[in-house]
Homo-oligomer: 357 residues x 2
Amino acid sequence: MNTNPAHTQWMARLGMQHPIVQAPMAGTSTPQLAAAVSNAGGLGSVGIGAYGAEQAEQHIAQTHALARRAFNVNLFCHQTAAADAQREAAWLAHLAPEFERFGAMPPAALRSIYTSAVGNAPLQAMLLRQRPQVVSFHFGLPEAAFIAALRGAGITTLACATSLEEARQIEQAGVDVVVAQGMEAGGHRGCFDPEQDRLLSTLALVQILVRQTRLPVVAAGGIMDGTAIASALQLGACAVQMGTAFILCPESAASPAYRAELQSDKAYDTGITAAISGRPARGMVNRLHLLGRDYGPALPGYPMVYDAGKALHQAAAAQGSSDYAAHWAGQGAPLARAMPAADLVATLARELAQAAA
Amino acid sequence: MNTNPAHTQWMARLGMQHPIVQAPMAGTSTPQLAAAVSNAGGLGSVGIGAYGAEQAEQHIAQTHALARRAFNVNLFCHQTAAADAQREAAWLAHLAPEFERFGAMPPAALRSIYTSAVGNAPLQAMLLRQRPQVVSFHFGLPEAAFIAALRGAGITTLACATSLEEARQIEQAGVDVVVAQGMEAGGHRGCFDPEQDRLLSTLALVQILVRQTRLPVVAAGGIMDGTAIASALQLGACAVQMGTAFILCPESAASPAYRAELQSDKAYDTGITAAISGRPARGMVNRLHLLGRDYGPALPGYPMVYDAGKALHQAAAAQGSSDYAAHWAGQGAPLARAMPAADLVATLARELAQAAA
């Protein structure tokens, strides 16, 4: 068990009663979900990386209105890939027969649909206005002045690492806590540079970070119940981050199709693909996974590929198909349980107490 | 903690004092290593899949002579791939420039260098003669009569699973214990059919098997110290299997080059490739990993690819290069420690007791 007070004081400061962070899951998390988790004594999160400035601010304000305790706001800190008309056209041509299945046309070009938090002064100003108690970073780190401004405002910072190199950068940047994301985690791999991804598991990564950095480590990936939380704490993590476990909560934004798939045998079949968004991410295998597998050329970057995937999903969804839906899920997906978020946090806390006894 | 007596009685029956199985690691394990681990209260293992009948029998007899307690003999239960002259010639042509680097010629053809235990009557007869107390299966299961004969002789049986489907087959076959091998493990993936590999992590797989089978589960992959053992037991495993942790023991057959690499930064860079043997296996990335990565056609099967890889390694090794050596290692490799096997078992047991306290 991690009994290092330097590793748990950030949770005490935030008033967390349980060492459980609900993963941000942009597109699936909601103010209701985050608030329910925080109000139940965990740390709820909202992911705003997919929103424009105004929508992001509304989302945070709405969470403030519902949450009686601290919550976390997650930012995408990717380096936006350079536009590459040739790559984009080739990928759209590869997808053209799929659009055709639904009588639709591929878009003429791909847009960079998400703005990175890196160098994003309006986003920084908005966060200092809204003052969430916690801000977390995915896909990298923002510039030093951004981190300093958040910390200066008393905001606790978390950042995702998939390797020792990334964790060392996070430590040097003065971020408070590292989220150690194993390859079994659902959703986007947090790697700073996906080309360098060594796909470390939660078990291997947590062991290495606990022994080779001084940061408090939050274990993320494959953790589905209180027994697994106890196991991660035993390994030296100070807390866990769980995403897939919260998808079936009524407060999440998951569609009925997403929920049904997660409760089917498809939950046993997750895989990592960059063909949905342009960055590697784990979800239940769909047609885009397969289309990516047999595609020879390099994919356009993130988030341009996502623009194509979303257009294709919309064309299909209009005719009742979820063949291209981004149903992110981790390898523990078959163990997800459907219950209100507050009940789930209470259940996890009870299981953790039993396991630790 | 796993307190189900049905899950621990096999260890009590064998006289194991610690819930630690040393992984078989064909080529790296030795009678000395297995005996040292067993004599220290763990379960030592020898892997005989790479040996002919006579050498295998000598190996077991030698282990019997050194071990005062139960030890495990591991068998390869692969379906031998059909010969495919065209695939083999294409792969050899791809490797020809590599042979040329060392002034050598690729072999004219590839041989199936290892005999499977499946349907192997002489092997079965030899095991019933030698009577190791434990026999474990990798790459699948032998026929029912083989398993029944071993069990009839009072031999405890273990089998490796990488998925729920494989674990269910193991359970139905009446095997006593399942080894849940996560994707972080070093060496060969135990998948029955590598085409079906979903690369589950130890954490995800152990959780699923503990909840969805009745078998005692031995957690394998990424476990490097007593804290990690405690963590796996917390998750519901009855024991752990550790391989990479034992490579640096003086009793292992690891070469000086292998040991040096494992103690260098290369230990952070492991990957899974089929280009060394024909079946996916994890090791420190070498030139064969890279040669496999940029190779378009299908590889010849296992163990034909291994025949090519070994020939290339021999040509290179004769000139002092270990560019093609099969330096298997798991993702926890940077945490491996060099000490005699008995000291390592004692250290792990002490760390486990401290972690569990």
